[in-house]
């Protein structure tokens, strides 16, 4: 059982690392257009943190990240990321516990699933509003993942460092 201070310290570090990723997304990635799309780092962050932290803390973290994204980014629904990111977190943590141990390969697989879920949900919302665009959405999904995949390594290293720093006794 962790002490209260340790828990606060751990989540403060995670918050700082997330803020760094958000800064990079807002001030750098958002201004780039590679292969016609903008690299999108938030699903990667959600997948990586959840794969290290496990189902319950990972899902709570991704829920908070989803709320943050909904406040920051325009979306088809007011709670779009709040709904989908916890699912991403849960799936990523289950992958790390059952299939692949947390690390770069697990992060890459979880990130691919994160993009599949997030962009699939986008397509579903469009379809539900009578503007279905599955082919175009699928093409955006492929390009978005391809241009964001190189960022999985630095994001994994960042959150791996936070995880190791805050789980010294494990």
């Amino acid at each position: 059982m962790r002490s209260r201070n340790e828990t606060i310290f751990k989540w403060t570090l995670y918050f700082a690392a997330t803020a760094l990723c958000s800064f990079v997304q807002s001030f750098l990635l958002q201004r780039l257009s590679l292969w016609g799309v903008i690299p999108f780092v938030y699903p990667v962050v959600a997948a990586v943190v959840a794969s290290y932290e496990g189902p319950v803390p990972g899902t709570i973290y991704t829920l908070v990240l989803g709320v943050f994204c909904d406040l920051l980014l325009p979306g088809p629904l007011p709670c779009f990321y709040t709904l989908i990111f916890p699912v991403v977190g849960l799936c990523a943590s289950l992958i790390s516990q059952g299939l692949l141990s947390a690390g770069f390969v697990c992060s890459l697989a979880s990130s691919a699933l994160a993009f599949l879920l997030t962009d699939g949900f986008h397509c579903l919302v469009l379809w539900a509003s009578g503007k279905g665009a599955w082919a175009a959405g699928g093409w955006v999904l492929v390009r978005e993942f391809c241009v964001t995949a190189p960022l999985v390594l630095p994001v994994t290293l960042l959150f791996q460092a936070v995880f190791r720093r805050t789980h010294l006794d494990d």
Partner: protein, 280 residues
Amino acid sequence: MKNFLKHHGLWVLFAAAVIAVVMAVMSVFSNTSSPLANLTGILASPFRSAYTSIATWFNDKQNYYQDNLSLKEENAALRKQIAEMEAEIRQARLDSEENSRLKGLLNLRDERQDLSDFEAATITEHTVTNWTSSLTLDRGTAHGVEVQDCVIDETGALVGVISEVGYNWCTVLTIVDTDTSLGAQVFRTRDLGLANGDFSLMGENRLRLDYLPADSQLLSGDLVVTSGLGGYYPSGLVIGTIEEVQKDDSGAAAYAVLAPRVDFDQLTEVFIIKSFELVS
């Protein structure tokens, strides 16, 4: 030597006097210098040249150093002057562009009496995700901006509609975004339709014109404007031009692909229509 001068000094003095007188007389009657002076000059000439050369070399070096210093100072001053002038030119260009935009807006005000209240806004952020086409502006509720206000450029072309407003910011969904839907009218034929954002076309900055009459005869290049039906948006704002007419998936109905008049990537400043009068 002492004895020599004692015995012959007087003669030596006399000879010197005679030589001096002879030379003086020669110098009076000669056009050139006296032989002795000439001889002295000949002997001194190389030394004079050498002195002059050395002095000239030193002078040159001194002048070079002074010139170099003054040129460096002058160069620095000129660089500063060029930088200032370039800054002035840049500012003048910006002023000129702003002037042009404001002139356009003034013409628009004269042409469109129904659009009464504009708010100039600067774009602070372009599209932030791959699933929306949006702009963030530096105007908000503090400036009287409201959700559903139309945003245009200086020519009166429609940019989009305000979707979210904060105290000093607002988000505009452009006309190609999937959530945008506007009553539209083809200017030439007066056909009515609905201009909708379509995700398949959004990447190419295009939108659809749906619900066209079955007998509509549209041509490529036809101008499409807002219809103003329902009173939600002002009428007559330019949406774009028809690029092509296509059949939908069922093959029963036709729709047109519209190319917006506005180039969203190049936009820096826009105008928010805060209020307008309904034109019957």
